[in-house]
Amino acid sequence: MTDQTLGRASGPSLKQRRQRAAFWFLAPMLIALFFVAAWPLLRTIWFSFTDATLSNLYDAEWIGFDNYLQTRELSSGRVVYRGTLVDPAWWNAVWNTVRFSFVSVFFETIFGLIVALVMNAEFKGRSLVRAAILIPWAIPTIVSAKMWSWMLNDQFGILNDILLNLGLISHRIAWTATPETAMTAVLIVDIWKTTPFMALLILAGLQMVPRDIYEAARIDGIHPVKVFFRVTLPLIKPAVMVAVIFRMLDALRIFDLVYVLTPNSAATKTMSVISRENMIDFDKFAYGAAQSTLLFAIIAVFVSLYIWLGRVDLGGERR
C-alpha cells in the first residue's frame, strides 16, 4: 500500500473531522440566532427605508433615507427638514436614555461593588443573605414597577408618608407624574432592581481573587483601603468591565420599567419607548423602525467605544 492510498482510506484528517463536528454542534444555535436576532434586525433595517405602516406592512415601498432625514424646498425657497434625525422628540428620548443609562449603571456599579464586598466577607447567615439579595432582581419588572408606583403614589404612597413624617418634605410629591422627579423615580427603581445582578457578577470576580495575597498584603502592612484600590480593584476589573457592558446594553434599551412606571412622560421617554410609540400607537411603522435602527447603532457605538477604551478582554485570552 502506498502512502496515497493510506491517506485516502483514512478519509478526512482529524482536524477536519473536529471542525466538522464543531460546525454541527454550533448549527442549531446559529439557526436559532438567525431567526431570533439576525432576521428581525435585518427586517427592521429594511423597514426603516420604506413607507410601511402597520396596516400596510407587505406592500411597503422603498423611500430611501426619508425616514431619517428628508429635505424639501418650498416654493418660497425655504428648505424644510423632516425625519427622525431632526425630530426633537427623538433627541429628547436619546438624551433621556443616555442620561438614564450612565446614572443608573454608575450607581449600580458602586452599590453592586459594595454589596459584593460585603457578601464576599465571612459572616453568619451569608448564604441566606446571598439568596435574599437576589429577590429584587428575580421579581418581574412589570410587578416591581407596579409595586413601586404604589409606593411612590402621591396620595397613598408609603414613601411620601415616611418623608412627611420625618419632616423631610413639606407636601406630598407626585414622584412619577412630576417631570422634575419622574426620572429620579425611574432611576431609584432601576438601581434597586439591578444592583443585585451587578453584585452577583462582581462577587464572581471577587471569588477568583486568591485569599493569600490579602495575607501577603497584611504582612506588607498595607492599609485595607489601599489594598482595595491597588490589589482588589485591578484584579476584579475584568469582571466589573463585563458587568458594566451587560448593564449598559440593558439600560440603553430600557423599556418596560419606563412604560409602566411613567407612561407618556416626556421626561423619561426613552428610545425604545418612543420607537414603539411611533410603530404601534401612531401607525408610523417605518419611522419607528428607523428609530430602532438608530437605537441599535447607538448601542453598538457605545459598546465598541467602551471595549476599546477599557481594553476589555471578552475572549479571555489574556488570563
Binding site: 493569600d212 495575607e215 485591578p234
Partner: protein, 335 residues
C-alpha cells in the same frame, strides 16, 4: 535578629482547640523547623507567630517584647507562602517593592533593596515579568525575594516547597539553606510535613502532634533518641520498623524500634530474626528489602550498594544492638 518565646500559647476556633498550650524558645538566628503530619497545628502555630491569627491564651515575646496584640507588619516578620501569594497584576519588581512603596520610602533606597535581593536570588532578569510568566520555582524565588526586601527580624516559611516538583524542591531547599548562611542573624521558622526538609535545613526541629509539642531537638537528637514512638516513626526515611509481641518481649519492651539502616544481613542461622524476602526495591545507591519475619508488617532492611538477593530467598537478620529503640507500653522510650 530576634529571639522568640512562646509561653503556654493556645489557639481555639470556637470550641475546637487546635493549639493546646505550647512553650517554645527560639534562639536568635536559629533555623527552626516545625514538622508534623497534616492537622497537627504547625501551620496554625506559624500563623500565630506571624500575627495573621490571634493567640487565644498565652504570651508571645519577640526580644522580650510582648507582641500578642501587634499586627503582622509591626512584628518585623516576612513570610513566604506555599502558594507564593504574589500579586498577579504586578510585575516582579513591583511585587517586591509594593510594601516599601506604599510605606512612602525613598525611591532610590527601594530600588537598591529590590535589586540587591534580586541579585542574591539570581532573578534580576525576571524583574519586568508578571508572575504568570514565571515557572513555579521562579515564583517561589520572587516570593522569597519579596520577603528579603522587607529586611525582617524573623523569616517565616509556610511549606514553601510543596508546590514544586522533586528536582526543584532539592534546588530550592539548597538556596534556602544558603540564604540562612548569608542572613545568619535572621531567625527563620519553617513549616513542613516533609521530614527530609526538616532534617536537612533545621538547626532544631519541633515535632508537633495534635496541637502539642511532641519533641524539640536537633535533627541528630531526634534521629538518635526520639522520645516517643510517634517521633521515631516520623523522623527517618524509610520509616523505622516497629515490632510488637514476642519480638519486643525478647528485648524486654512493649514496642521495639529498629531503623532499616541498622539491621544487618548475617549468615544463615546466626541472626535474631529470619524470614523470606517478599519484595525488593533497588534505588541504585541502596537496596530496600522487605522481609517477612512473622511480625505485623514486613521488616524493611536497607542495605547500601548493589546486593543481589532475589525475591523469595531466606535471609537471617541481626539488628545492631546499640541502635535499637525500646519503648514501653506508654510509647515512651525505656532508658
Amino acid at each position: 535578629m530576634a529571639k522568640i518565646e512562646l509561653k503556654n500559647v493556645t489557639k481555639s476556633y470556637g470550641a475546637v482547640e487546635v493549639i493546646k498550650g505550647i512553650d517554645l524558645d527560639i534562639k536568635k538566628g536559629e533555623f527552626m523547623v516545625f514538622v508534623g503530619p497534616s492537622g497537627c497545628g504547625k501551620s496554625t502555630l506559624l500563623r500565630l507567630i506571624s500575627g495573621l491569627e490571634e493567640i487565644t491564651t498565652g504570651d508571645m515575646l519577640f526580644d522580650d517584647q510582648r507582641v500578642n496584640n501587634l499586627v503582622p507588619s509591626d512584628r518585623g516578620i516576612a513570610m513566604v507562602f506555599q502558594s507564593y501569594a504574589l500579586y498577579p497584576h504586578m510585575k516582579v519588581y513591583d511585587n517586591m517593592a509594593f510594601g516599601m512603596k506604599l510605606a512612602k520610602q525613598d525611591k532610590a533606597a527601594i530600588d537598591k533593596r529590590v535589586r540587591d535581593a534580586a541579585r542574591m536570588l539570581q532573578i534580576e532578569h525576571l524583574l519586568d515579568r508578571l508572575p504568570r510568566q514565571l515557572s513555579g520555582g521562579q515564583r517561589q524565588r520572587v516570593a522569597i525575594g519579596r520577603a528579603i526586601v522587607r529586611d525582617p527580624r524573623v523569616f517565616l516559611f509556610d511549606e514553601p516547597l510543596s508546590n514544586l516538583d522533586a528536582a526543584l524542591r532539592v534546588a530550592t531547599r539548597l538556596e534556602i539553606a544558603k540564604l540562612h548562611e548569608t542572613m545568619s542573624d535572621v531567625t527563620m521558622i519553617y513549616v513542613t510535613h516533609d521530614q527530609v526538609e526538616a532534617m536537612t535545613l533545621a538547626d532544631r526541629i519541633a515535632v508537633l502532634r495534635d496541637g502539642r509539642l511532641e519533641q524539640l531537638g536537633t535533627p541528630a537528637e531526634l534521629y538518635e533518641s526520639p522520645n516517643s514512638v510517634f517521633v521515631a516513626g516520623f523522623i527517618g526515611s524509610p520509616k523505622m520498623n516497629f515490632l510488637k509481641g514476642k519480638f519486643a518481649e525478647d528485648k524486654g519492651c512493649a514496642t521495639l524500634g529498629a531503623r532499616p539502616e541498622h539491621i544487618d544481613i548475617v549468615p544463615e542461622g546466626t541472626g535474631d530474626w529470619s524470614g523470606e524476602v517478599v519484595h525488593a526495591e533497588d534505588l541504585g545507591s541502596d537496596n530496600y528489602l522487605f522481609v517477612e519475619i512473622g511480625a505485623d508488617e514486613p521488616l524493611i532492611v536497607r542495605q547500601p550498594g548493589k546486593l543481589a538477593i532475589p525475591q523469595g530467598s531466606k535471609v537471617s537478620l541481626q539488628p545492631q544492638p546499640q541502635h535499637l529503640h525500646r519503648f514501653g507500653a506508654d510509647d515512651r522510650p525505656l532508658r
